[in-house]
Point group: C2
Chain length 511, copies 2
C-alpha cells in the first residue's frame, strides 16, 4: 500500500474505532439493563442509549467517511479481496451506503414507532387481543415498505430487507430453500408425531437444583472452549451473548428447576455465539469487520454447538457421568442413551423459541411467508391470525388456541424488523453445511467429542469462520469453505438421519 493509503486508512480506522466504542458502550448499557439495572433506571437508560446511538450514527454517516471511502476505494483496488484493508473499505462502504440511504426522518419514525408499539404489543399478547395490535403492525408494514424503497431492490421489496440482515441473499433464493425444507420436514414432523411415544423426556422435568445447573453449565461451556478470562455468565430473562471487543464477550442464561434443557442448552447456545466473537482476529477490532458475517452465520455457530454437538450421543457419552454425579437423584435409573433421547424429543409446539430441531424451521417458514405477503399487499394485517393458524395446522398439525400462542408471540413485529426471522433457519442450515465439511476434514470428530476434546473443532471454526468476522458475506463464506452457497440438503439429511434413528422411522424419509 502507498503511504498515502495508509494515512487515509488510518483516518478512517480512527473514526470507525470511535463509532465502535460508542456502540460497544451502548451494548454494555443494554447488557446491564438485562442483568443488573434496578427498575428505576429505565428512563435514564433510554436517554443514555438514545444519545450514544445517535452520536454513533451521526459520526458514521459523516461526509468525512464518504470522502475517505472514495479515495480509499481506488487505492485498495490492487489488494487481495480478503486483505484486512480491502475488506474494511468494502464492508464499511456497504454499511455506509445503507445507513446514508435511510433518511433521518424515517430513522426517527422507526425508533418512535417501535417504542410506541412495544407496550401495546405486550398488552395485546397478554390479553390475546390481536385487534389491539393490528394498527401498529399496519404501521410496521408501511415502514418496512418505506425502508425497502429507500434501500432499493431489483425484484421484491423483501429483497432489500433480507440483504440488509443477510448480505447478498435474495427472497427467491430463500423461497427455494424454504420450499425444499417444507417438502422434507412436513412429512417428517407428521411421521414423528405418529411415533411420539418412542421418546420419553419425563426425566428432564424431575427437578434440578438451579445453582448446580448454573455451575455445571458454566463448566461445560468452559470445556467447549469459551474463554472466561475474556467472558462471563450472568442471568437474564432472555438469554443472549454480547461482545464489547476481543477481550470481553459475555453470555447470559436462565435456569428453571422444572425443566433441564433451558439452562444447559441455553448456555451452550450462547457460548457458541460468544466463541465466534472471541475467535475474531484482533487485527479487525474496532472496525465494522469485528462482528458476525450475518445474524444467520452467527446463529450457525450457536446451533452447531447447541444441537449438532451438544445434542449428540458422543457429547453425552462424555458428559453424562459427570452430570449424573452432580444430579444423582433426578437421573437415577436413566442411562446415557435414554438421556440423549430425552434431550432430543421432537414434538410440534406453538412457541418458536421453545421449538425442537426438527420443527423450528417450520416456525420460521411461516413468518417468512407472512412477512412477504404483508409487504406485497397480498395479505391484510387483519387476516394475519387466520393465515397464521391455517398454515400452522398445515405445517405442524396443531390448532393454535389463541393469538398469544400464535401471531402475537414474537416481539419482532412490535419494532420495525421484517427480514430478521430467516436468519434463524439460515443458521440451522449453515451449521449442518459446515458440519458436513468438518466431518470430511476430521473423520474422528465423534471420537474426539466422546473424549471431551473440542479444541480441534474450535480451531477449525476459528480458521474457517471466526477470525474473518464480517469480511465475507454468508454465501462468500460458504463457497470458500464448502464450495457451495447456502443449501438445505446437509441439514435435511442430518435431521432425517438423526430423528429417523431416534423414532425408528422408515428409511423412506431418511434418504
Amino acid at each position: 500500500m502507498a503511504g498515502n493509503t495508509s494515512e487515509k486508512l488510518q483516518q478512517l480506522r480512527q473514526i470507525l474505532a470511535e463509532v465502535t466504542d460508542l456502540n460497544r458502550a451502548a451494548m454494555l448499557l443494554e447488557w446491564d439493563q438485562e442483568t443488573y439495572m434496578p427498575a428505576g433506571g429505565v428512563q435514564g437508560r433510554a436517554d443514555q442509549l438514545s444519545t450514544l446511538l445517535r452520536l454513533s450514527h451521526v459520526r458514521f454517516i459523516s461526509d468525512e467517511v464518504g470522502r475517505l471511502l472514495e479515495s480509499l476505494e481506488d487505492e485498495v483496488a490492487g489488494l487481495a479481496f480478503e486483505s484486512d484493508e480491502a475488506s474494511i473499505v468494502r464492508v464499511t462502504r456497504r454499511d455506509y451506503d445503507q445507513a446514508c440511504k435511510l433518511p433521518p426522518d424515517l430513522v426517527a419514525e422507526i425508533a418512535r414507532a417501535g417504542s410506541v408499539a412495544r407496550p401495546v404489543w405486550e398488552k395485546a399478547r397478554h390479553d390475546e387481543n390481536f385487534t389491539l395490535f393490528a394498527p401498529y403492525l399496519e404501521k410496521n408494514v408501511e415502514l418496512n415498505r418505506r425502508i425497502a424503497d429507500a434501500l432499493g431492490y431489483k425484484d421484491k421489496p423483501y429483497d432489500a430487507l433480507i440483504d440488509r440482515s443477510e448480505p447478498g441473499m435474495t427472497t427467491a433464493e430463500l423461497a427455494a430453500i424454504f420450499a425444499e425444507l417444507k417438502q422434507a420436514i412436513v412429512p417428517l414432523v407428521a411421521d414423528i408425531a405418529r411415533h411420539s411415544e418412542a421418546v420419553d423426556d419425563s426425566v428432564l422435568y424431575r427437578g434440578f437444583d438451579p445453582d448446580l445447573q448454573l455451575s455445571y453449565a458454566l463448566d461445560v461451556v468452559k470445556r467447549l472452549g469459551y474463554d472466561l478470562v475474556r467472558g462471563r455468565q450472568d442471568i437474564s430473562t432472555h438469554p443472549f451473548s454480547t461482545g464489547f471487543g476481543p477481550g470481553d464477550v459475555r453470555i447470559t442464561t436462565r435456569v428453571s428447576r422444572d425443566f433441564f434443557n433451558e439452562c444447559l442448552f441455553g448456555s451452550i447456545h450462547e457460548s457458541g455465539h460468544a466463541m465466534y466473537n472471541q475467535g475474531m482476529s484482533t487485527e479487525i477490532d474496532r472496525t465494522p469487520l469485528w462482528d458476525g458475517a450475518s445474524p444467520g452465520v452467527h446463529e450457525s455457530q450457536s446451533r452447531l454447538w447447541e444441537n449438532v454437538v451438544g445434542r449428540s450421543l458422543p457429547f453425552w457419552r462424555h458428559f453424562y457421568p459427570s452430570l449424573q454425579a452432580v444430579f444423582p437423584e433426578p437421573l437415577r435409573g436413566v442411562d446415557v442413551t435414554a438421556f440423549y433421547r430425552a434431550v432430543n424429543k421432537s414434538q410440534p409446539s406453538f412457541i418458536r423459541v421453545e421449538a425442537d430441531e426438527v420443527t423450528y424451521n417450520m416456525h420460521v417458514l411461516l413468518r417468512f411467508e407472512l412477512e412477504n405477503e404483508l409487504l406485497e399487499g397480498t395479505l391484510k394485517v387483519k387476516d394475519v391470525p387466520e393465515a397464521w393458524n391455517t398454515r400452522f395446522k398445515s405445517y405442524l398439525g396443531l390448532d393454535v388456541p389463541n393469538d398469544r400462542e400464535g401471531a402475537l408471540q414474537d416481539i419482532h413485529w412490535s419494532f420495525v424488523s421484517f427480514g430478521i426471522f430467516p436468519g434463524y433457519t439460515i443458521g440451522n442450515l449453515i451449521s449442518a453445511q459446515l458440519m458436513e465439511k468438518i466431518r470430511a476434514d476430521m473423520p474422528d470428530l465423534d471420537a474426539q467429542i466422546e473424549q471431551g476434546q473440542f479444541a480441534t473443532l474450535l480451531s477449525w471454526l476459528r480458521k474457517y469462520v471466526h477470525r474473518h468476522g464480517r469480511k465475507f458475506t454468508p454465501n462468500e463464506l460458504l463457497e470458500r469453505v464448502t464450495g457451495k452457497p447456502l443449501t438445505a440438503a446437509p441439514w435435511i439429511a442430518y435431521v432425517q438421519k438423526k430423528f429417523g434413528a431416534l423414532y425408528g422411522l422408515q428409511a423412506a424419509h431418511r434418504s
Copy 2:
C-alpha cells in the same frame, strides 16, 4: 423568563443532557470494570472510556455552549440566585471556564502521565521503593503547577486546585481549620493512646459469615432510606457509590470474615453518598447541577450516616438485637454497650483508609501540608518520605516502618490530583456542623434513631442538602443551612465529647 430565554436554555439543556449521558455511560463502564468485567476487558474498556470522555469534553467546551451562556447570563440576571435556571447558567459557566482554561495539550499530558505512573506506583509500593516512584511524583508536581497556572489564583497555587474540587474554598481558610484541628486532636490522640485498654474491640475479629454480613448490611441501608428500586449493592475491592441519574444510584461494598467493620460500615458509608444522589431534584437531572456540591459535601453525607449515626449508641440500641440474632456465635456474651464501644475503638494506624474517626483528619492534614510544600517548592520530592515520617510521628505518635505504609500508600499521587485530600476532612467537619443544626431542629433525634426511624432525618437532609445538588458551593450551602461557613468547632466538640466518654478522659480535653 422571556420566551427567548426559554428557547436558549432549552438548547443549552439539550447539550448538557448529551454531555451528561456520555459521562453517565462512562460511569457505568467504570462501575462494570470494578464489579463484573472479566480481566480480558481492560484494554477495550480503556479505549471506550477514552472515546466517551473525549467526546463529552469536546461537546462541553464547544463555542456553542460559550455563546449560549453569554446570552443566557444577561437573560437570567433577574431570576433568583437559587432558581434552577440561574443556577444552571451559573454553575455551567464555572465548569465551562475551568474546562476551557486547561489547554488540550495539558489535558492529554495529564491523562498520559497518570496512565504511565499508575503501574510504577503499584510496583514502588509493592517494593517499598520510593525512589522508583519519585520521578513520576516530580512530574505530577510540575503538572499540578501548570494546572494552577492555567486556572489562575490570587494567593497560592494550591488555591486553584482547591477551588477546582471545593468551589470557593481557599488554602488560607483550610490552613486555619487544619491548625485548629491539629491543636485539638494531637493531644486527644495522645490521651486516648494512654487509655487504649479502655476499649476492647476483639469481638469484631471473631469471624462473621460473609453472606450474612452482606444481606444484613443491605437490610440496614434499606432501612436508613436507601431506595433499592433505584439502586443496588455489589461487591468491589474498593467500595464506592455511583449514580447514573435519579433512577439508578448504586453502591458497592466489600466483606471480610475476619473484620466486622468493613462490610456494614462500608455499606452505610456508601449508602450515605447514594442517598444524597437519590435525593437530588429531578428538575436538575441531566444538567451539571445533578451531582454533589463538592467531594467534601458528598463525603459529609457518607460520614454523617456512617459515623455520626451508624457509630452512635442509639443506632446500636436499635440494631444490636437483630445483629445478635443473625450472628449469635461471635456476639455471645457481648452486650450492646460493649459492641458500641468496640466499633468506636480509636487507635493511631498507618493507613488513612483504615483510620478511625479521631485520627482520620491527621492523615489528611499531613497530605495537605506536603502537597502545599511540594507545590511551593519548599519540599523536594526526594525528601517526601522523611517529611512524611517525621510528621506522622508528631501527629499520631507512630514510627512509619516503610514507605508502603507511609508516603506510597495512596493511589492519588499516581495521577494528577493535588487538592483532593482536604475533601475528606471537609466532609467530616460538615457532617458535625450539619448535625449540630439537625439536633437543634429535631430534639428527639436520638429517640427516633433508637426506634429505627430515619425518615425525618433523611427528609431534613433532602430538604436542606440533597435536592439542591451543585446549586450552591460548600460554604453557600453551609451558610444557608447553619448560618456559618465551614468551621471545625462542632466536629472537635463532637469527638471530644464522644471519645472523652468512651475512654474516660479528663474534661480538659472535652471543653
